[in-house]
Symmetry: C2
Subunit: 140 residues, 2 copies
Amino acid sequence: MQITSRLTVAAHTLAVIEYFKDKNKTTSDFIASSVGVNPVVIRRILLQLKDAGFIDVARGSGGATLKKRPEEITLLDIYRAVDCVEEGALFHFHENPNPDCPVGSRIHAALDGYLLQAQQAMENSLNSVTLRDVLNHFSA
Amino acid sequence: MQITSRLTVAAHTLAVIEYFKDKNKTTSDFIASSVGVNPVVIRRILLQLKDAGFIDVARGSGGATLKKRPEEITLLDIYRAVDCVEEGALFHFHENPNPDCPVGSRIHAALDGYLLQAQQAMENSLNSVTLRDVLNHFSA
DNA sequence: ATAGATGTAATCAGAAAGGTTACAACAATA
DNA sequence: TATTGTTGTAACCTTTCTGATTACATCTAT
C-alpha cells in the first residue's frame, strides 16, 4: 500500500504551470501530456489546487496560473490539498479491538502517540521543501 | 489512502503474545479475539513475524512465543516484517511522465530525494520505539 | 487414534484509484 | 451572435488491494 500518486501528479502539475507560464497556455490537456495521465485526472487535481488557493484556473479561455509564489507552497501543502490520506491519519488502525481484553482495550492508546509522531516526522519533512526547491531542479 | 492496518494488528499481536505469555496459550484464535479480526488474518501475520525471526509458532500444539526481547523489536522492524508498503517506497510515483517534456523528463529526479527524506523521517521515528515501550502502557 | 492447532489455498466482497466517455457551462473572439 | 476551445462534473469501468471466510491437509502432544 502506498500513498496515492496524486501528490507527485500535483507537484508535477504545479511545476509545469510555473515552468511554462511564459511559453504555453497550461491547459489540462497540455499538463496531462507532460504528466502522462488522462486530462480529466488533471482537471480534478486542478480543482483541488484551486480550492487550496494555489492557482487560478480560467474557465472558457483555459489555462492555469500560480496564485502564490513557489516559495510559499510546500510539499506538505500540496499533500494536504490533494487529500493523500483519509482524515489526516497516515496509519490505519484495526477497528475492532476487544474492549474486554486488557490488551485490546488499551492498544489504541498505547500506539496512537507513536504513530502520530511518525506521521508528523514525515509531514515536517515534506513541509521543509517548497515548490521553488523543486523548480530549481529544472533551471540548469 | 492509508498504510494497511497490518502494522497495528502485528503490534497488537506481539503485545498479546508477551502480555499473556504466562497466563494463556496464545493461539491464533486467542489473539484474533483480542484484535477483533479473523483468525486466518492473524495466522498470516504470525507467519510474517516468524519469517522475520521475532517469534516461534508451535505447529500441532499451538501458540506463539517471542524469540527476541521486546526491547529488541522496533515498530519499524514490525512495519517491515508485515510489508506495509510495496518495495519500500512510501510514495507512489505516477509512472508515465513524458520523457520529451523538459519537466516530465526530470520530475522524477527532482522529487525523489525529497520524498525519500520524508519516508526516512517517518521510518526513523518508528525505529525509535520498541515493543517494550508499547508494553509499558499495559503495566500500570 | 484423537483433538486441537497451524499452514495455506481458494474465493468473495468492498473500497479506492485512475482511466475514459460524455456533455453542460463558460468565456474569448471572429 | 455563433463558434471554438476549455473547464467542471457526472457516470461508469477496470484494476488492485485488503481483509473475511471456508475448507482442509498437516502436524504434535496426549
